[in-house]
């Protein structure tokens, strides 16, 4: 098995997503209007919301990979699940970092148990457990099944967590960006571009990580 970047197409992909990421940062800084009451803090939403979208998409892929692993009994789906869980958690961490950075100047405090951020935080804690069982679980084949099961029940729990947190403290304000579709085009289009770029970056990262895990399994377990 060769290195990921040995393949010419993968090298081109790397150049493409790097260029797109640089373009995205430039676009956010220079081509988006300044929102009067939020100033520079608002710009973080072009990163925060796409990160949340990619994080939850990734956890959906973990669930699908878990179901496929149980049905097909193929190690490839376990690899997809693990890769998606790792990258998903990376983006979820980004959400949990950028959320309080935005909230500090706008709401006056970094954390107010906003329903979406709270749901994200609970999901993040579940995935800490997921990685613990992956790392310390013991028997390799059993751990694959346990991890797949946790990936499935974690995502099944998301709507219940979200509804309960929302009703728990209804007076807490939601993101102002909830109605993203109603934003003026000057904000909406750069946001959609950022969303597409983040999604593309995610799939390239997933492809890369799957390759690395497969390479590692080949070296360690020779499978």
């Amino acid at each position: 098995m060769q290195s990921f970047f040995y393949n010419k197409n993968n090298r081109l992909l790397l150049v493409l997503i790097s260029s797109l990421l640089i373009f995205n940062i430039y676009n956010i800084i220079s081509n988006t209007p300044m929102v009067p009451d939020q100033h520079w803090a608002q710009k973080i939403f072009y990163v925060h919301v796409p990160s949340a979208w990619v994080g939850f998409l990734s956890y959906l892929i973990v669930m699908i990979a878990g179901i496929m692993f149980f049905l097909k009994k193929n190690d490839y789906w376990d690899t997809v699940g693990l890769a998606a869980a790792e990258i998903g958690t990376l983006f979820i961490m980004l959400v949990l970092i950028t959320g309080p950075i935005w909230a500090t100047p706008i709401w006056g405090k970094p954390w107010i148990w906003e329903p979406r951020l709270t749901t994200t935080f609970i999901l993040f804690l579940i995935y800490i457990g997921y990685f613990m069982i992956r790392s310390f679980g013991g028997h390799v084949e059993r751990v694959k099944r346990y991890a797949a099961a946790i990936g499935i029940i974690a995502f099944l729990d998301v709507p219940i967590i979200f509804v309960s947190v929302q009703f728990w403290a209804p007076e807490i304000q939601s993101h102002p960006q909830v109605e993203m579709a109603n934003q003026p085009s000057g904000i909406l289009f750069p946001f959609l571009i950022s969303l597409c770029i983040f999604t593309l970056v995610y799939f390239v990262m997933l492809k890369f990580r799957i390759h690395v895990i497969q390479l590692k399994n080949k070296v360690i377990y020779n499978v």
Binding site: F70, L123, I126, F136, V143, D157, I160, S164
Partner: protein, 220 residues
């Protein structure tokens, strides 16, 4: 077959009383800690009482469910159980129902010390409080049994159970506290019916997921 598995769980517990007794003693110790750390007015304690009650239940459930699954590891009993020609999902269902029974028995015993040690009056609508608590027990145990079933044969299972269980059960704990507060303060049903729906949705989703997944989780 489900009845036989449930009988097995109940007989083992009837003989050893390990799960209920350990949950009960641990619960009493938690009440003691609450009593020492909440030396404030009765009204303040009453406001926090539902939350404290369900925190206590959360801790004792972790202990009980872990005990209930780990004694299956003795003499490799679980391997024998899953090699039997039975639907493995039924093992989960029997653990869930028996766990709920143990938790309910433990709650019946501990409810009076809980209120009396915190110097509170017993709930005036005691029957409604009990009925809603039993429903919540079903929800808590459906999550706890699934988590314990997943992590039981993993290394560090005693650490993994609470780490996975607490965040997964958070919607149930929110709903449980809101329902118990509503009942305790005599709020109209309309104010806490949404929380009952959340509990019912957990009782439907988790046992279904557990029944389906247990067959895959326990594969050798």
């Amino acid at each position: 077959m489900f009845i036989s598995l449930l009988k097995k769980e109940l007989f083992i517990e009837f003989r050893s009383r390990e799960v209920i007794l350990s949950m009960l003693i641990f619960g009493l110790s938690i009440i003691l800690a609450f009593a020492f750390t909440t030396n404030v007015s009765k009204i303040i304690v009453l406001n926090y009482a539902p939350g404290m009650f369900w925190i206590m239940i959360l801790f004792v459930t972790t202990l009980g469910v872990h005990r209930s699954f780990t004694y299956e590891k003795n003499f490799d009993a679980f391997s024998l159980l899953i090699s039997a020609p039975i639907d493995r999902g039924l093992i989960y269902l029997s653990k869930w129902i028996s766990g709920t029974i143990f938790l309910t028995v433990m709650e019946i015993i501990i409810i009076i010390p809980f209120f009396k040690f915190l110097l509170l009056d017993l709930p005036s609508n005691f029957i409604l409080f009990s009925v809603t608590s039993i429903l919540i027990n079903f929800a808590i145990m459906s999550v706890a049994s699934l988590v314990a079933g997943i992590s039981m044969r993993a290394n560090l299972s005693e650490v993994l159970v609470p780490i996975l269980f607490f965040p997964l059960v958070s919607p149930v704990i929110i709903a449980a506290t809101k329902i118990s507060s509503g009942v305790l303060f005599g709020d109209p049903y309309q104010l806490w019916q949404i929380w009952l729906l959340i509990i019912v949705s957990v009782i439907v989703i988790f046992p279904l997921a557990g029944y389906t997944l247990f067959d895959f989780i326990t594969e050798e």
